[in-house]
C-alpha cells in the first residue's frame, strides 16, 4: 500500500476507534509504522491529512456517478440527485467517522479539515452549473451565477447534517430529504423570485450597484 493510502486508512481507523483525530503526527506514524518524513512528503499537517480524507470521499463519489450508464443522459437536476445519493452510499463506508465529525459541526461553519472537500465539490458543482445553464435548467445570472457552487455546497452540508441525525431504517428519510430539497433548490434557481431577491441584496450590499 502506498504511504498516502496507508495514512488515510490509519486516520480512519483511529477516528473509528477513539472518536477523535490522532493526537500528533508522530503518534499516528508510530502506530502505522510509517516514517515521519514520509508523512510530510504526503501531507503538510494532520489537518491536511483529514482534509484530503474528505476530499477523497467526494472524488470517489464523482468517479462512481460519472461511470454510471445513465450519466450522459442526465440533466443537471438528475446529476445532482445522483451525486447526493451516491455520496450517501459511499459515506456508509466511513459512517463512524462521519458521525463523530459532523454531528458536532453546523452546516454553516467551515473548519480547516473540510477545505479539501469544499474545494473538490465546488469544482464539480461549477461543471454542474455550466451543464444546467446549457440545458436551461437554471437561469444564468451573470456574475451572481458564481455563487451557485457555494449554494450547492451548503446544500451538501445540509444533507450530511440531516443524514447524521437520521434514525430511519437504512436512512430512507435521508433519501427523501435529498429528493425534496434538490427539487426545491432547482425550482428556486429557475424562477424569477430569486432574481428579485438577488436584486434587492445587490441594492443594499456595499459591493452592489448603486444605480436605482
Amino acid at each position: 500500500m502506498e504511504n498516502k493510502e496507508k495514512l488515510l486508512a490509519g486516520f480512519r481507523d483511529h477516528m473509528g476507534r477513539h472518536g477523535h483525530p490522532p493526537a500528533s503526527v508522530p503518534a499516528l506514524c508510530e502506530t502505522l509504522g510509517v516514517a515521519e518524513r514520509d508523512f510530510y512528503l504526503e501531507f503538510g499537517s494532520l489537518e491536511a491529512l483529514e482534509s484530503s480524507f474528505w476530499e477523497d470521499l467526494v472524488a470517489k463519489t464523482v468517479t462512481a456517478v460519472e461511470e454510471g450508464p445513465e450519466w450522459q443522459g442526465f440533466g443537471a437536476r438528475q446529476r445532482l440527485l445522483a451525486f447526493l445519493f451516491a455520496f450517501l452510499e459511499k459515506s456508509l463506508d466511513v459512517r463512524t467517522v462521519l458521525l463523530f465529525r459532523f454531528r458536532s459541526v453546523s452546516p454553516l461553519c467551515n473548519p480547516e479539515w473540510l477545505r479539501g472537500m469544499e474545494r473538490r465539490f465546488k469544482e464539480w458543482a461549477s461543471d454542474l452549473v455550466a451543464h444546467a445553464s446549457a440545458t436551461g435548467e437554471i437561469a444564468d445570472r451573470g456574475r451572481l451565477s458564481g455563487l451557485y457552487p457555494a449554494a450547492f455546497y451548503l446544500h451538501l452540508r445540509a444533507v450530511i447534517d440531516f443524514n447524521v441525525k437520521d434514525t430511519s431504517m437504512r436512512y430512507e428519510r435521508s433519501d427523501a430529504f435529498v429528493e425534496k430539497s434538490t427539487h426545491l433548490a432547482f425550482d428556486l434557481l429557475r424562477t424569477q423570485a430569486i432574481d428579485s431577491a438577488f436584486d434587492l441584496l445587490r441594492f443594499f450590499a456595499p459591493w452592489g450597484h448603486r444605480a436605482g
Binding site: E70, E89, R173, K180, H183
Partner: protein, 435 residues
C-alpha cells in the same frame, strides 16, 4: 423533467399544510354563512363541494399516508358526504413522480444493484403513479415487467401522518374520536401492511394460486428474484383500467362478462377463502382481451369464520322479518349495545333493516342488473340520510366490528365498480344460507 417539488418532508411542514386546510375549510364556512346572511341561497352541497376541494388539495400535496387515507375514506361513503368522496377519489391519479436517480438509489439500497444491472432496459419515467410508489416498465430476456417502486420513508412517516390527519378527518366528517377509534386502528394496520412489498408479494402469489381456477380472471406472474421490501416486480399487463373500460365502447355482452368475473372473484374470496383483496378501486383491475387481470394485493383482509357467519347472516331474508332474531344478530355483531335504551334500540334496528334490505338486494333473485342507476343512488341516499340523522349522531360508544370495515369496503367497491361497468351478473347466496 418535471418531478414534483412540493411534497412536504418534515412533520412541521405537514402540520403547516394541514393547518392551512383547516383555515381554508374555516374560510369556506365563513363565506358560506356570509352568503347565506345576504340571502344568495347557496345550498349546503355547495359548501361540501368547496371544503372537499380544499381538503383534497392538501391531501394531494402530501405523499403517502394522507393520500392513502383519503382514498380509503373515499370508498366508505357512509362515512363521508358524497362531495368529499368525489374529491378524494381523484387522489389516486395525482401522485407526483419520483426522480429517476431516486428510483436507482432505491434499487441500490435495497438490492445492491442499479436498475440497469437487474434489467436490460428500464424506462426512466414512470408508466403509472400509485399512492405510495410508482410503476416502471422494464424488459429482460424478451419479457416485459412492471416494477413497482416505493417512495422512501413512507412506512416511517405513515404513523405520524395518521396522527395528524385523524383529528382533521374527524372534524371534517363530524365524528367523535372515541367512537371510531377501532376504525382508525384497523385502517392503520392495513396501511402499514401495504408498505411491505415482501408481504404483498407473498399474498399476491398465495391468492392468485388459490383463485387460479376461476374463469375470466387472471393474475400477473410475480418475480420474487427481482422484488424486495420496497420493490415489487411482476409481469407487465397491457390493458385498460376498469374505469377506462367502463367509459369505453365495450358492448353489453363484454361488460357482463367482465362484471361476472369480478363478482365470482369476490364471491370466492369472501365466502370460500375468507381472505380477500380489500382494495377494489378501478386502478387495481385491468381489462385486456383475455379478460380481467387483478393487480395489487397490497391490501388484503382475513376474517374469522365466527365473524363471517355473524356478518353474512344478514343476507338471510327471513331475519329481516323477525324483530327479535334481528336484534339478537345485531347484538352479536356489536352494533346494538346492551346499554341501549329501547327507543334507540328500535331506531338502530330499523335503520339497519333498511340498509340491509338495500345492500342485500343483488343476492335476492339470483341475477342483478347493476346498470340500473337507482341502485347506487339508493345506497348514497341511505348514507346521506344516516349521516344527517341527529338521533344517530347522539349515540355513544364504539359500534360494530372493525372487521366489517373491509368487508363493507370490498362490497361497496364491488358494487360501485359493477355499476360503473353497467354489468348484469348472476349472483347466489352462500351455500350455508341457501336452504
Amino acid at each position: 423533467m418535471a418531478a414534483q417539488s412540493t411534497i412536504r418532508s418534515s412533520r412541521l411542514g405537514r402540520m403547516a399544510a394541514f393547518a392551512g386546510t383547516g383555515a381554508r375549510v374555516g374560510i369556506n364556512y365563513l363565506k358560506h354563512y356570509g352568503q347565506r346572511s345576504i340571502g344568495s341561497g347557496v345550498d349546503e352541497n355547495d359548501l361540501h363541494e368547496r371544503n372537499a376541494e380544499a381538503v383534497y388539495k392538501t391531501f394531494s400535496e402530501l405523499k403517502g399516508g394522507p393520500l392513502k387515507l383519503a382514498q380509503m375514506l373515499s370508498i366508505d361513503h357512509n362515512l363521508l358526504p358524497a362531495a368529499y368522496a368525489g374529491q378524494f377519489a381523484k387522489a389516486q391519479y395525482s401522485a407526483p413522480p419520483l426522480s429517476y436517480p431516486l428510483v436507482a438509489r432505491t434499487f441500490r439500497r435495497e438490492m445492491g444493484r442499479g436498475p440497469l444491472e437487474v434489467f436490460e432496459t428500464f424506462c426512466e419515467s414512470a408508466a403509472h403513479g400509485a399512492s405510495i410508489g410508482q410503476v416502471h416498465k422494464a424488459t429482460r430476456d424478451g419479457r416485459d415487467f412492471a416494477v413497482k417502486v416505493q417512495y422512501p420513508g413512507v412506512a416511517e412517516s405513515l404513523r405520524s401522518d395518521l396522527r395528524i390527519v385523524k383529528p382533521i378527518a374527524l372534524q371534517v366528517i363530524g365524528l367523535r374520536e372515541r367512537d371510531v377509534e377501532n376504525y382508525f386502528r384497523e385502517v392503520e394496520t392495513r396501511l402499514l401492511e401495504e408498505t411491505d412489498y415482501t408481504l404483498e408479494l407473498e399474498r399476491s402469489m398465495e391468492l392468485s394460486r388459490a383463485s387460479s381456477h376461476l374463469e375470466g380472471v387472471s393474475f400477473p406472474r410475480y418475480f420474487p428474484e427481482y422484488s424486495c421490501r420496497r420493490i415489487l416486480t411482476m409481469e407487465w399487463i397491457d390493458g385498460l383500467t376498469l374505469d377506462r373500460f367502463a367509459k369505453g365502447p365495450a358492448d353489453q355482452a363484454e361488460r357482463d362478462r367482465v362484471g361476472q368475473a369480478l363478482w365470482d372473484f369476490y364471491e370466492f374470496q369472501i365466502h370460500t377463502l375468507q381472505l380477500f383483496h380489500a382494495d377494489p378501486h378501478p386502478g387495481n383491475f385491468l381489462v385486456s382481451p383475455p379478460g380481467l387481470t387483478v393487480l395489487d394485493f397490497g391490501c388484503t383482509k382475513k376474517i374469522e369464520t365466527l365473524f363471517y357467519r355473524r356478518h353474512f347472516r344478514f343476507l338471510d331474508e327471513r331475519l329481516l322479518g323477525d324483530r327479535d332474531a334481528l336484534e339478537e344478530a345485531l347484538v352479536d355483531l356489536g352494533i346494538l349495545l346492551p346499554g341501549d335504551a329501547d327507543a334507540s334500540r328500535a331506531r338502530i334496528r330499523d335503520l339497519c333493516a333498511a340498509s340491509i334490505a338495500i345492500l342485500a338486494r343483488p343476492f335476492r333473485d339470483g341475477f342483478f342488473d347493476f346498470s340500473d342507476p337507482s341502485f347506487m343512488r339508493s345506497i348514497y341516499d341511505l348514507g346521506e340520510q344516516n349521516r344527517r340523522d341527529d338521533s344517530l349522531r347522539g349515540l355513544r360508544g364504539q359500534r360494530g366490528s372493525p372487521d366489517s370495515i373491509y368487508v363493507n369496503r370490498a362490497y361497496f367497491g364491488l358494487y360501485s365498480l359493477l355499476s360503473a361497468i353497467g354489468a348484469r351478473v348472476k349472483t347466489r347466496l352462500p351455500a350455508w344460507l341457501a336452504t
